[in-house]
């Protein structure tokens, strides 16, 4: 029975992938466009999930890397012909990574709320560079006329101008991003990040030099956000400074938190939910003239979802299970205490909470295996080995 469950679990992603790959055959342009948008934002949200859910680094400036990736694609593309895909992709990811390396090295000196604000500051700087100078056409933005092509000595394996092919390309990028992050989460590096999220001081005491880990995570997250931005530029063929605004950073953070921070699926679930809610409330067919006031129901829905789902959408099954167990009378105490502890440790609590946090931190580790995430178990394991790689 357990084995069969395991097989089923392994088959689910493949089935989902196949279903998604077959989706363009349905042929409705609107839905294909919507699916592409969701997938791009899913990559974007996954890249932030590595920082927020993985390393506990709450960034309110992640849109900078999205925008830089998009601008790199638009600025470096030749105007009258298609650019080379590989070179443009490398340039987009590289420029996002370089900006992340410079700003991350500085921003990671701060923590908590201050880190949130410094990342915001750096993304606002990038925003004003594109908004106030003529580099990318100022506030009007810039066009990208041809989607880049990949050609190997005259032979083109695929043509991105074809919407179906472009859809598949985005899907492959999403699948690769997911696979890469899942692998990263299971690796010693991912376990170290989880340890840093839960208790950085303890990780340092265990012999880890935490700064390089955090910086590496920051740069990887930014690079993947650059990938999302690159795909976004290709999607519309149009890039504006709006992509770098703090509202954009807030939106993607919203997706991550709404889905539930500590799981990859959560980021994707949050993205799908938020974008579909936006589309739903904007639909004139359903709401008529009130559709232009779609922010109101969206805002109320966000408030309601957060109020009802403290662990995000992905935490919903666990929440139900817990409630059922309480109703049955079995003790649910370890569940409830464990689910509150890591969130308080991961959140950027104010500086005053630091002292109390470090005092309670040792006890938080003892019970920090909340709601069955494998990451935390791995971190606990790696911590029990005396001395890390940097001992």
């Amino acid at each position: 029975m357990g084995q069969r469950m395991n097989y089923a679990r392994r088959l689910i992603p493949i089935a989902v992938l196949l279903a998604l790959a077959a989706f363009p055959l349905s042929g409705n342009d609107y839905y294909i466009g919507l699916a592409i948008k969701i997938m791009i934002y899913a990559i974007f949200a996954l890249s932030l999930q590595l920082l927020v859910g993985g390393a506990g680094l709450i960034s309110l400036g992640h849109a900078a890397f999205f925008g830089i990736g998009a601008y790199a694609a638009a600025l470096l593309s030749p105007e009258s012909e298609a650019g080379g895909l590989l070179w443009l992709l490398a340039a987009a990811l590289g420029s996002a990574a370089i900006y992340a390396l410079i700003t991350g090295a500085l921003a990671l000196r701060t923590r908590g709320v201050y880190f949130i604000m410094v990342t915001l500051a750096f993304s606002q700087m990038a925003y004003y560079v594109f908004h106030d100078t003529d580099i990318g056409g100022g506030s009007d933005g810039i066009y990208l006329y041809f989607r880049p092509q990949m050609s190997l000595a005259g032979w083109m394996p695929f043509d991105l101008e074809n919407p179906g092919v472009y859809y598949l390309f985005v899907l492959v990028c999403l699948a690769l991003t997911w696979g890469f992050l899942a692998m990263l989460g299971r690796s010693p590096f991912g376990a170290a990040l989880t340890g840093i999220r839960l208790n950085e001081q303890r990780m340092r005491a265990a012999g880890y030099s935490t700064f390089p880990y955090k910086l590496t995570a920051y740069v990887i997250g930014a690079t993947l956000a650059g990938l999302a931005g690159f795909l976004y530029a290709l999607k519309d063929g149009f890039v504006t400074p709006e992509l770098l605004t703090w509202e954009q950073s807030g939106l993607v953070l919203l997706m991550v938190i709404l889905g539930g921070m500590h799981r990859l699926g959560g980021a994707v679930l949050g993205t799908v939910t938020l974008i579909l809610l936006q589309e739903l409330f904007q639909s004139q067919a359903l709401f008529g003239d009130y559709a232009k006031h779609w922010h109101l129901p969206l805002g109320l829905t966000i408030i309601a979802l957060v109020a009802l789902l403290p662990n995000g959408l992905a935490g919903l099954p666990a929440q139900w299970r817990e409630r059922r167990e309480t109703r049955r009378g079995t003790s649910a105490a370890p569940h409830s205490s464990a689910s509150t502890v890591p969130s308080s440790a991961s959140a950027g609590t104010g500086p005053r909470a630091d002292a109390s946090r470090s005092r309670t931190a040792s006890s938080s580790f003892a019970i920090a295996s909340p709601t069955g995430t494998s990451n935390n178990a791995a971190a606990a394991q790696s911590l029990s080995i005396p001395g890390g790689p940097h001992a």
Binding site: V52, I58, L106, R109, T110, R111, V113, Y114, M117, V118, L120, A121, F122, Q124, M125, Y127, Y128, V129, H131, D132, T133, W246, E247, G250, L253, L254, I257, L258, M261, H293, H295, L296, L298, G299, L300, T301, I302, I303, V306, A307, P310, S343, S344, S346, A347, G348, T349, G350, P351, R352, A353, S356
Partner: protein, 293 residues
């Protein structure tokens, strides 16, 4: 830049900084004492400005007009709004972690903006400067400076002095300061923390709304006016050190000066300058200029 232009820019910087201080002081108190990241604080500024716009004709019709009457009415309404909001919404946020507060107050921004759009629409509106403040004082040979801007600065300085007095000389101020340095401790010392929270929150809303109300005749009212102020105020709060009124005052002055003179001296880089300032300050002092507690 000659002397009188320089003087005018100095006065502008002062006025801009004081307005920022009004909004940021409430934000820093709510942040420092209640531990809430309130993204909706900019909306209170917006609400204040729109109240000035919407109440002005009503006051003229029913109460015989008068700028001061409008101002007082706005303040009273803002205090009521703050009190009700705290009781109905924010009091549930204390137990949530920061990220969820960010989410919920983000949702609140959307709600406030849309309610504004439903009630008043999306047009830009001007608000008349009251007649007795409409003049201008001569400055140098040709240049003049509007009295109303001086009035804004005067109110800002007045409120700053009042805040200083309340915080350092009264029992309430003592409790607020104690709350800013250790929240759990003053609760266990038998101070009614819920009442304190409610007062602080209502005061914060009133300060932001006051800033919006008096700024409306200068800046006019427009959609999204809260968001730009919000980000600037977070910059001020963080530069000053969370929970510190003194820090907020100093940082507001600094940011006001940099923004005003940046726009005159380096128009193309004006937007970036403030963030450069913030990054530099935080990299030298990672917890702001005046860290509380």
């Amino acid at each position: 830049m000659d002397t009188s232009t320089f003087l005018i820019q100095c006065l502008n910087a002062l006025q801009h900084g004081l307005l920022l201080f009004l909004v940021a002081s409430g934000l820093t108190l709510i942040f420092g004492i209640m531990g809430i990241i309130n993204l909706a604080h900019g909306s209170f500024y917006m609400i204040g400005a729109y109240m000035a716009f919407a109440l002005n004709p009503l006051v003229e019709r029913w109460l015989g007009g008068g700028f001061v009457t409008t101002l007082v009415l706005c303040l009273v309404l803002a205090i009521v709004l703050g009190y009700v909001l705290e009781a109905a919404f924010f009091s549930y946020l204390y137990r949530r972690d920061h990220l969820q507060q960010v989410l919920m107050t983000y949702g609140l921004i959307l709600v406030f903006e849309e309610i504004r759009s439903l009630l008043v629409g999306n047009d830009v509106h001007g608000v008349p400067v009251p007649a007795w403040l409409a003049g201008s004082v001569p400055l140098g040979d040709i240049l003049t400076y509007p009295v109303y801007r001086l009035f804004i600065s005067a109110i800002g300085i007045g409120v700053a002095i009042l805040l200083y007095w309340v915080l350092t000389r009264t029992r309430l101020g003592m409790m607020v300061r104690a709350g800013a340095s250790n929240r759990e401790m003053i609760g266990s010392l038998g101070i009614d923390i819920n009442r304190l929270y409610r007062i602080v929150f209502a005061a914060g809303v009133a300060l932001a709304a006051l800033a919006g109300t008096i700024a409306a005749p200068v800046s006019s009212v427009y959609p999204g006016m809260g968001n730009s102020v919000l980000i600037m105020c977070f910059v001020v709060v963080v530069i000053g050190g969370i929970g510190s009124i003194r820090g907020a005052f100093l940082a507001a002055m600094l940011v006001g000066t940099v923004e005003t003179f940046g726009q005159v001296l380096f128009p193309s880089a004006a937007g970036i300058l403030v963030y450069v300032l913030m990054a530099v300050i935080l990299l030298c002092k990672p917890e702001g200029l005046f860290k509380q507690g």
